[in-house]
Amino acid sequence: MTIQRFASALCIVAPVFAQWINYPTPGTPRLPDGSPNLSAPTPRTADHHPDLSGIWQLEPAPCTANAIQGCGGDYPGAPEFGNIGARLSGGLPYQSWAADFVKNQTSDLGKNDPVALCKPSGALRLLTYPPYRKIIQTPVVIVLLSERDVTYRQIFTDGRPLPKDPSPSWNGYSVGQWQGDTLVVESVGFRDGTWLDRRGSPMTEAAKMIEKFRRTNFGNLEIEVTVDDPKAYTKPWTVKLHQLLVPDTELLDYYCNDNEKDAVHAVGK
């Protein structure tokens, strides 16, 4: 299965998107013509923190003739979906085994990608997937709902510490605290075998991830992600994921495993 074909699988769900799209998101500031005012100030919660709540999409790549992701569809993608280090000068600082792994997976057309097998995307990839994500912020927990596979991730903001011996999982275990107007989230407890992008950049259970969430105005969310995984990378690296608010719509059911016919045809090279 090629990246292009995988992208086309995503497009199958696009036509249904028009169905629930016409409900105006409550609490959205509006211009005189009724359209959402996306440059309005950052909303705040009762406890005065920025409110990250909303439906978000990773800023798509500019539309070009040979774009990996289809242009004009409902799920345009960003380069980080294909290569999380796409915008890093020099690329990701892979350990030699990790560089070999990526080379092999890429030449095998990504057929072993966990998401091609309907496995979870993992915490970081949940932020780069073309389908939307919805953030729900409460004082004690922030929940990310992902349209892709109708799954979620919890970030605890009730002051608890990170677990010392976490059970390895796809999402890891995340705690966050506010530093000024920035939510700083630390995560540990990832499982070996996680892919961070379509080309197969690996993450191991040695990884620690730090995400800095900053909602700069109503329509924009900056997420700066630092991955420190000494088993897979020679040094920590940081990427910025710019998310755009998607107003007046809602998440749909997208179940990877429903009527799944692709995996047996993913034969690689």
């Binding site: 629930w20 609490g27 409460t138 004690v140 059970s167 999982s169 999402n171 809602e250």
Partner: protein, 267 residues
């Protein structure tokens, strides 16, 4: 594969991990002088005065000897019509369908295929779920397959032509201390229990959520599906607050080896 084996083996796999994150005290709950959770008090309320349904909830039922740990199982998980007087009022074709499913040990249960279960079976599933209540939205996070369901309480109407889905589309409003939720848009092929009681896309589900005390959640569910049933019918679901624990990650497709062995009783 006999009924229950899947649940049993899955529970066995995930039970040892359950001890790992169990020791974090749930913040904001009332406690006795010795630090234990005080579950006898009244239901908490949100800033807007409604009962707060938020919390981690588990089924109530006889502890099943086939389960590791303290997972209780609501008998309605296996047989949703167990407490319905006279049994489920199945239309003839639906009765035939149920019979044919039982004849092959219900091997085609969507649960066995790692597909979503729909709102009713998810209420009855043995694994815990967490309700997060915000002013315009109630979200249920399920441990089973790390899935969620949204119930909109911001005043929106049900869609007139919903896209059929596993969860359907749910809107709720408060009737005094009861949250009344209506759901449409469930897809054909949904199973309501392990046996295989069917639900069709004609169904309208009404759920009444009440939290009569701190530790108790009650859900009264009415199913009105004229395609599959001759009249509407109702069940009652009890859930208990689970303190000082949290959801773990359970991914049904992870290392899944069961499906290929489901042979419907043919040896």
């Amino acid at each position: 594969m006999p009924l229950g084996r899947i649940t049993l083996s899955a529970t066995l796999v995930c039970a040892p991990a359950l001890a790992q994150w169990l020791n974090y005290p749930t913040p904001g709950i009332p406690r006795l002088p010795d630090g234990k959770p005080n579950l006898l008090g009244p239901a908490p309320r949100t800033a807007d005065g409604h009962p707060d349904l938020s919390g981690l909830w588990e089924p109530v039922g006889p502890a099943n000897s086939s389960f590791v740990g303290n997972s209780a199982r609501d008998p309605q998980f296996a047989d949703v019509g167990k407490e319905v007087k006279g049994g489920l009022p199945l239309q003839p074709w639906a009765a035939d369908l149920l019979k044919s499913r039982l004849a092959v040990d219900s091997k085609d249960d969507p649960d066995s295929k790692c597909l979503p279960l729909g709102p009713i079976k998810m209420h009855l599933h043995p694994y815990p779920r967490r309700i997060i209540q915000t002013p315009g939205l109630l979200v249920i996070l399920f441990e089973r397959d790390t899935a969620y369901r949204q119930l909109f309480t911001d005043g929106r109407l049900l869609p007139e032509d919903p896209q059929p889905g596993f969860n359907g589309y749910s809107t709720g409003k408060w009737d005094h201390d009861t949250l009344v939720v209506e759901t449409v848009g469930i897809k054909d092929g949904t199973w309501l229990d392990v046996r295989g009681a069917p639900l069709t896309s004609a169904a309208k589900i009404t759920e009444r959520f009440r939290r009569p005390s701190f530790s108790k959640l009650q859900i009264d569910i009415t199913v009105d599906d004229p395609k599959a049933y001759t009249m509407p019918w109702s069940i009652h679901v009890d859930q208990a607050f689970a303190a000082d624990t949290d959801l773990l990650e359970f991914v049904c497709l992870e290392n899944e080896k069961d499906q290929s062995h489901l042979n419907g009783g043919i040896r």
